[in-house]
Every structure is written in C-alpha cells, then in structure tokens.
Amino acid sequence: MKIAIASGKGGTGKTTVAVNLALVLASKELLTSYCDCDVEAPNGHIFLKPDIEYRHTVSIPAPKVNMDLCDGCRACSDICRFSAIVVLKGEVLTYPELCHGCGGCRMVCSPNAIEEVDRAIGTVIVGNTNQLLYVAGRLNIGEASAVPLIRKVKSELPENGFSIIDAPPGTSCPVIETMRGVDYVLLVTEPTPFGLNDLRLAVETVRKLDLPFSVIINRSDIGNDDVEMYCGVEGIEVIARIPYSREIAEAYSRGDMLINHIPNQIELYSVLSDRLLEHVSSRVAV
C-alpha cells in the first residue's frame, strides 16, 4: 500500500505529516516505510535520524563515441531530439547533461561506434529507524532531472506493508513520477490564498492520474475559510485539520518529531492513521 504525501505549494507540511504518520503506523506494528522522493530538497532524515545501511549511486546511460569506428553519417545527431549529441565538422560532440538516456543514438549507429556509459545523477540511501524502513534519494547538484532518480528510489520500496512517500512540491514531472502507481494521495495545504491556488492545481493533477485522495489542512486556524469552502463545493474530504502552534513551529525548526515532543500530536496522528487505514483497506477490499 503506497500513500503519497503531496501539496502543490511548498512548505505546507508534507514532510512533517509524512514522518509523523510513518512513525505512528510503524508503532502499530505495521510494516512501514518512509520514502523521501523530494530528491532536490530531501528533509526526512532531519527528523527520522535513520541509521544508514547502504547508499548507491544512480546513473543514467549517456553516449560515448569511438571515433575510430565513426563514419560521420550523422544519424545519431538526427535522431536525438535533445541536442545531446551533435556532429560538427566531422567531430561528434556529446552533452551528457542533456541526454535523456533513450538509447536512440546507439540504435541508429550502423558502424556501432556508440556505446552507453553510466553517468551518475544522484544517490539512493537506505536505512532504518524505530522499526521503520527509510528510503531516500539525493539529486546531485547541477543535475536537471529528478525523474530517473525518483524511479530508482521507489523501486527500493517493499511490495507489502505501508509506504509513506514524501513528494516534492509542484505539479510537474517529479511529482507525477512520485505519484505514479501509488494507491492513495494525501494533499497537505494551508488555508491561505497561495495554499488554495496550489491545492487546486494539485487536485487537478491527482484527478488526472485518477487517484483517490483527501486533504489535510495544516495551520488550519490561520488565513481564511476559502480552502474549506473549496473542499466542500468539490466534495473533497478534509481528513485532518492541524491547528497552528508556535510550539509545533519551534519543534519543527529543531528537527524534533512532533509525536514525541508535543502531547496532543500523538493523538492527532493516531486518529489520522486510523482514518487513513479505513480508507485504504476499504479500497483494497473493493
């Protein structure tokens, strides 16, 4: 059972919800994983402080040209739509950072002058903490596409048990890759004009992917009522409301787990996890 925690807008509390929810599920003796797919700005480790078991480098293939075999036919540069390989004055130039790894250049090269070599784009990190499996990705600095790394990170997740997947903000490719194949999405928002605007985008995205979802309103007592009204009109369930408190903000700033440091939070996350389990188990039954 894979549950993605997503948001549209950044900084609404995805990681807070994901780590606390994951730990509450694990404490119920359910096999649980926390998966950090925000590979550009991963923060889950700050709260979970996992023991790392292993790391491995994730690479994507990029072309390497053997000029002794090249006959200068230019087929490689003709097929490449990403300008990652170009032929200039008989010289074949490659731009690995533009390569999507489709393999087209190698396939069209009739003298077999092109081989594919690995180019590192980031790291997958696997560990554990408090009965919780921890899986995360870290994109290398300067690397544009998080998508292949996210794919690898998700492939580390066990098939059984619960996986709480911390998504990046936004609605574009990295978010879509994170949500692909999950069973349920929790959208975390805040009741402000920015929160509402980005929630609408996130809702459109989840609907396009045809995934069941509900909304968590974080800092539920700030801003205005427009998010509540929007959810009401759209028939979207608000599965939890988390009121603002300075205490939470300060605990968050220090990297403390809310359920271990703030008395009412354990109950809040316990209720949330029960409701979530009801939702996802009824779906499995159907």
Binding site: S7, G8, K9, G10, G11, T12, T15, D38, E40, A41, N43, I46, I79, R81, F82, H100, G101, C102, G103, G104, M107, V108, L139, I141, G142, E143, A144, S145, A146, P168, P169, G170, T171, S172, C173, P174, V175, I176, R180, T192, P193, F194, N197, D198, L201, E204, T205, K208, L209, I222, G223, N224, A249, E250, Y252, S253, R254, G255
Partner: protein, 289 residues
C-alpha cells in the same frame, strides 16, 4: 539592468511574499514568475493580462492504428515503458513518454508521429508595479524548464526595452530544471531561507547550485525569530562561505493577513516586518551597485 532571482531550496520560506514587497518598493520594475508549477505572485500583484500565448513544451508520440501492424518493435525499443497494449491496440502513455522519438524513427510502417502536447500558457501582463511575465504549466506537463526560460527571456526583453533598473524573478523550490532555468544568466540570486534545520539544509544545497553556475548569492533569513539559535548558525555559515546575510525578517501573522487581502505586506502594514523588508531591499540595492 540588474536581474535578481529569488530562490530557496525548500518551499514555503516566503519567496513570493518577499518578491511582491520588492515589486512595491522598487516600482516601477519588471517581474517574472518562474514558479510555473505553482505560480502565486499574481495573487498579490493582480496582473492585467495583455497577451496570452500557448506553450507546447513537449512532443509526444502518437500511433496511427490504421497503419500499425502490431509488430511490437516500438514497445520493445522504448526505454520509458511509455507504450502499452490496451484492448489489442497500441497506445502511448503521454505522461511516461519522454518525446525521444525512437519509436517514430524505427516504426517500419511509419505509423507513429510526434505531436505537440499542449502544456500550458504564458502571459505578458501589466501590474501597477510594472510589466510582469508569468505562466501556467499544464497539469502533469513536462518541460517546465523551457517554459521558465521563455518567461525569463520575455520579461528581460520587456525590461530592457523599457529601460528598467531592476527585474525580479520569483523562482521555484528545489534545485532541478526549473530552478536552473530561473537562475541562468541572471546577475544575482537571493536565497530566502528560514531558521529550521530543513531550511538550512536546503539553503546549503541551493547555494551549491548558485555557486556551480557562478551566480553571486546573498541570503535573507525569513521568520528569523522562530529559532534564534539556528539563525545564528546560518549567519556563521554565511560569514564562512561568503554567502552574505543581507537581511533578517521577523515572524508575524501579518504576512498571512496581507496575503489574504491580496497586498504586498509592505503596503498592508508599515511596522515590524515591513521595516525589515525595507532594510533588506536597501541592503540589496547596496550589494547590486
């Protein structure tokens, strides 16, 4: 003209609130909302759209089943698992398709072609603070980096024509392609961070990115009084690494209130937070000289 991109690494640190206040303080000025995934600047600056333009970011493969002989070659060659067999018919998963065109090239029946995937709109607008270029990326669309580049370039063109002194670019969270596109070729990056371990962690990552592209970088600590200890650590880090801290903005609910009113906070209130942002702006002007 000086172009300044506001970035953060971590989302929700206050980039858009700061940019909208800069718009008010530096008016008239040029603005580009390069957070095309989740654009919010328009909610505060209320642009009047003068021209909207379609954006087709990516091409995707489309299979003509009248020509397809179901040889299965395309499905075997596709590295992105983007070709599925649905009801005995070959179909391209538009979300998975990277647009590489390998299937088009090799299809023996020429049954596949690349078609434009409409993936958003971008707008040239006027605000009461100056021209603004912004965009809406289509849902589940690819190629946000290219859309960011269009927005940034057009805003720059307008700003240069009108001989503007400054242009502000509202960046997106993260360090990936839209962020790289939003800092490419700009004069300055301002990192808006917050004194949380997450904020600090992501600030360090975005500062590595701006250093990687040789962009002079300054830092502003937003909500600095949420955790005075971490604020101090960030200040020490700035000192050590040459990422100068040029402003600290206190935490105040008034920022949210001003957002609800649809106003830059410096117009909504004159004290506290607004004074901090005014000081930040005057320090930034000094740095830009």
């Amino acid at each position: 003209m000086k172009t300044i991109t506001i970035v953060s690494g971590k989302g929700g640190t206050g980039k858009t609130s700061i940019v909208s206040s800069f718009a008010s303080l530096a008016s008239p000025t040029a603005l580009a909302d390069c957070d095309v995934d989740a654009a919010d600047l328009h909610l505060v600056l209320h642009p009047q759209i003068k021209k909207s333009n379609p954006f087709s970011g990516a091409k995707v493969a489309e299979i003509d089943m009248d020509k397809c002989l179901s040889c299965d070659l395309c499905r075997n060659l596709c590295r992105f698992d983007a070709i599925d067999i649905v009801n005995m018919s070959y179909k391209v998963d538009h979300i998975a398709c990277e647009g590489c065109g390998v299937c088009v090239w090799f299809c023996p029946e020429q049954a596949i072609e690349m078609v434009d995937e409409p993936s958003g709109e971008w707008y040239i607008s006027e605000t009461s603070y100056g021209p603004m270029v912004h965009a809406k990326l289509g849902i589940a669309a690819e190629n946000s980096g290219r859309l960011v580049t269009i927005v940034r370039n057009f805003a720059r063109g307008i700003a240069e024509t009108r001989d503007m002194e400054y242009m502000f670019v509202d960046g997106s969270p993260g360090i990936g392609c839209p962020v790289i596109a939003s800092i490419t070729g700009v004069d300055f990056a301002l990192i808006v961070t917050e004194p949380t371990l997450s904020g600090q962690h992501d600030m360090e990552r975005i500062s590595e990115l701006t250093a990687h592209f040789n962009i002079p970088t300054r830092v502003c600590i937003n909500k600095w009084d949420i955790n005075v200890e971490i604020t101090k650590k960030i200040e020490e880090w700035g000192e050590r690494t040459g990422n100068k801290i040029i402003g600290k903005v206190r935490f105040d609910n008034i920022v949210t209130e001003s957002m609800v009113q649809g106003l830059p906070v410096v117009e909504y209130s004159k004290n506290g937070v607004s004074e901090d942002i005014e000081l930040l702006w005057s320090n930034l002007q000094e740095e830009l000289k």
